[in-house]
């Protein structure tokens, strides 16, 4: 499997996802929506597995490869949210977001080379990045939703705020697990669990940002919705810096041990 095959798998998967999303919008389409979305996920995942085999390492190193997981986890996160809370529009939403990242990978791929430095050759590698990507998918969905609500304040009510809560709670759970897996791995690879490497610093900032949201909502469950939405957006900006922004920050240039791609 090579990246040349990506467009075929991605387009096929996206078709299943959008078909599923269409059924989800209808009253009685739950079963079809779930089956179609799962099929799309399987198609997409088979490409990931193929890449994994042909690269002889998990495809998690370059930015393009992490986007691959991101486009996989968005519909998965959407599906879980749909099954758990039955928001009818969530699958359309997650499919569109996934499509954006698929398009980036088709039109602006980045170096996909096969080598993996020794520090990354660890059983922690896959869980650390996969858990983080799942969390980013949740947080991304929450951020886009928050942006929409801030643009359309008339749509803000208790129901949509509880959706934001749910997305952030699940995202924060995964964010915490990703960070702690990183700490456990860092102990094995670098000798210490936390070294305030630029990526770690921004991961801490991101985590603190979402902690502010959770505590704020705890104090104001039924008021100050707009402030809560703004906290989501600010935290998501911190997340962007952590994810790829550190690659461009002058304060982090050349000293981050997290610079791989």
């Amino acid at each position: 499997m090579t990246w040349d095959w990506f467009k075929f798998f991605a387009v096929a998967a996206a078709l299943f996802w959008f078909l599923g999303a269409w059924f989800a919008l209808r009253e009685k389409g739950v079963k079809k929506a779930v089956i179609l979305t799962v099929t799309g996920l399987l198609v997409f995942f088979s490409f990931i597995v193929g890449m994994w085999i042909s690269l002889e390492r998990p495809p998690l190193r370059t930015m393009g490869e992490t986007r691959l997981w991101y486009s996989f986890f968005l519909p998965l996160a959407g599906l879980i949210t749909y099954v758990r809370w039955r928001y009818r529009w969530i699958l359309s939403f997650s499919s569109i977001l996934a499509l954006v990242f698929i398009c980036i990978n088709i039109f602006k791929p980045e170096i996909h080379n096969k080598t993996l430095m020794p520090a990354l050759q660890s059983p922690w590698f896959a869980p650390h990045v996969i858990v983080y990507m799942f969390s980013y998918a949740m947080m991304g969905a929450a951020a886009v939703f928050a942006l929409y609500l801030l643009a359309r304040p008339d749509k803000i009510n208790r129901g949509v705020m509880s959706l934001c809560d749910n997305l952030i709670y699940v995202g924060l759970a995964f964010l915490t697990v990703g960070m702690l897996f990183g700490a456990l791995w860092a102990k094995e690879a670098w000798g210490h669990y936390w070294s305030w490497d630029p990526k770690e610093t921004w991961a801490a900032a991101t985590w603190l940002g979402y902690l502010v949201f959770v505590h704020f909502r705890d104090n104001f469950p039924n008021s100050r919705y707009k402030t809560a939405l703004v906290i989501i957006l600010v935290s998501f900006v911190l997340l962007q810096v952590c994810w790829y922004g550190v690659n461009y920050l002058p304060s982090a240039k050349g000293i981050s041990v997290h610079a791989y791609s």
Partner: protein, 413 residues
């Protein structure tokens, strides 16, 4: 402000006060010393962090101060203040804590380039932890089962932070360089001081496995890899092989993993060579897909023994081989301890070896020698507080799982 009950304004005021106090202390004393983090002072300073919330909890539980300090009204300002400092830290280039900073007035006043050793950060962290412990005390005395996730998250974070901060003074990180066939019991601290250890490491063998070489095309003028902004490379996994690079068809007809270089007149040749100093070399031919221009010749990354060889394709571009990357490297060692115990094993990146209370990490090797390095560099770490940090981490992991499973249920739409 300062009308009961206290709220967010008081929370932010206290944080601002602590921040300014921190700046003042930084200006007078310079950065926080690490002495108060080593045994037995760490027990004393740590005791204070534990004693304040405990005292407030035991003796002032009816006060407005307690109600405020154990609520989100102080917690959110504390989290936001830490967040602000962490963001400043992320935007400021950080210097190693072993360095002394006295250059520049700003540096002396703020200490932001050694954020974790700055007074402002330390004071706000103490405030944060006092609130955290108080909140834990408040909930634990009125424990309900649905608070399990809350308790796991908050006390896990407190235990991990407390052990990490107050254990950091007792943490030892040393670097040790060992020659093949020799034994070493001296190591260097981060400040470059030499210390003798209660254990010695003998390096029996050092091994590097490398990835196959890569080929790239560089711009002759700028030295940048092509195509610009999206450089391509070709991994030479077998020979013969063909591939495509930046508009050129590349054919590799010969790949020598162990090669020596021979120069006769102005021609450079490579031949099989299996002694020390052997280098990777490939014989490649290139054809431009548009113009049909052709070039062929040897390409090698070079090393300490043989110079590097590029193949000039035209006046704009050259085919080159960047240095080969290590796939894995490991050291075969015997560790001798004072009590006559010996541990034999292999130390590899991501696979440290434990001996006599220390963990031995493969850190580096003689990079100028590459695959012929006869030196292995280890990192030795002793962290007596690690089990407590891990206990906190595992509690937080369980708490995260709890959060995921019992996330608030959907309200009516």
């Amino acid at each position: 402000m300062w009308k009961k009950p206290y709220g967010y304004a008081e929370g932010f005021a206290v944080c601002a006060g602590l921040f300014l106090t921190g700046l003042l202390l930084q200006f007078i004393n310079g950065k926080t010393g690490s002495a108060f983090l080593t045994f037995p002072y760490n027990l004393i300073s740590g005791g204070i962090i534990a004693a304040v919330p405990l005292a407030v909890f035991l003796f002032f539980r009816k006060s407005a101060f307690y109600a405020w300090l154990s609520s989100v009204k102080s917690a959110i300002p504390a989290i936001i203040s830490l967040l602000v400092l962490v963001v400043i830290m992320g935007l400021t280039r950080q210097a190693p804590s072993s360095e002394t900073l006295d250059s520049g007035v700003l540096e002396r006043i703020f200490g932001f380039s050694q954020m974790t050793s700055s007074w402002a950060f330390s004071l706000l962290m103490v405030f944060f932890m006092i609130i955290l412990l108080l909140v834990i005390l408040k909930r634990i005395t009125a424990f309900r089962w649905r608070d399990t996730g809350f308790m796991l998250n908050h006390s896990g974070l407190f235990i991990a932070l407390f052990s990490a901060i107050f254990g950091s003074g007792d943490l030892q990180r040393l670097s040790m360089t060992v020659q093949k066939g020799q034994m070493q019991w001296q190591a260097q601290t981060e400040k470059g001081e030499t210390v003798e250890l209660p254990l010695a490491i003998e390096l029996k063998q050092f091994t590097i496995y490398e990835y196959p070489p890569k080929l790239m095309i560089l711009d002759n003028l700028t030295g940048k890899a092509l195509p610009e902004n999206n450089p391509e490379n070709l991994l030479v996994e077998r020979s013969p092989m063909t591939g495509e690079l930046a508009g050129w068809n590349i054919r590799v007809s010969k790949y020598l993993q162990y090669a020596g270089q021979m120069v006769t007149g102005d021609t450079v040749r490579y031949f099989e060579y299996h002694s020390e100093g052997a280098v990777d070399a490939v014989y490649a031919s290139a054809e431009n897909r548009k113009t049909g221009a052709k070039a062929e010749g040897w390409v090698s990354c070079g090393n300490f023994m043989f110079p590097f060889a590029a193949l000039q394709l035209n006046d704009k571009a050259s085919l080159i081989m960047p240095p080969v990357e290590p796939r894995r490297y490991s050291s075969d060692v015997t560790v001798y301890q004072k009590d006559d115990k010996t541990v034999e094993g292999v130390v590899e990146v991501n696979r440290p070896l434990a001996a006599g209370g220390w963990k031995i990490y493969q850190s580096s090797y003689d990079q100028t020698m590459g695959r012929w390095s006869e030196i292995s560099i280890f990192q030795l770490v002793r962290d007596p507080w690690l089990p407590y940090v891990y206990a906190g981490i595992f509690m937080m992991l369980a708490g995260a799982l709890w959060l995921f499973i019992f996330a608030p249920k959907k309200l009516e739409e």
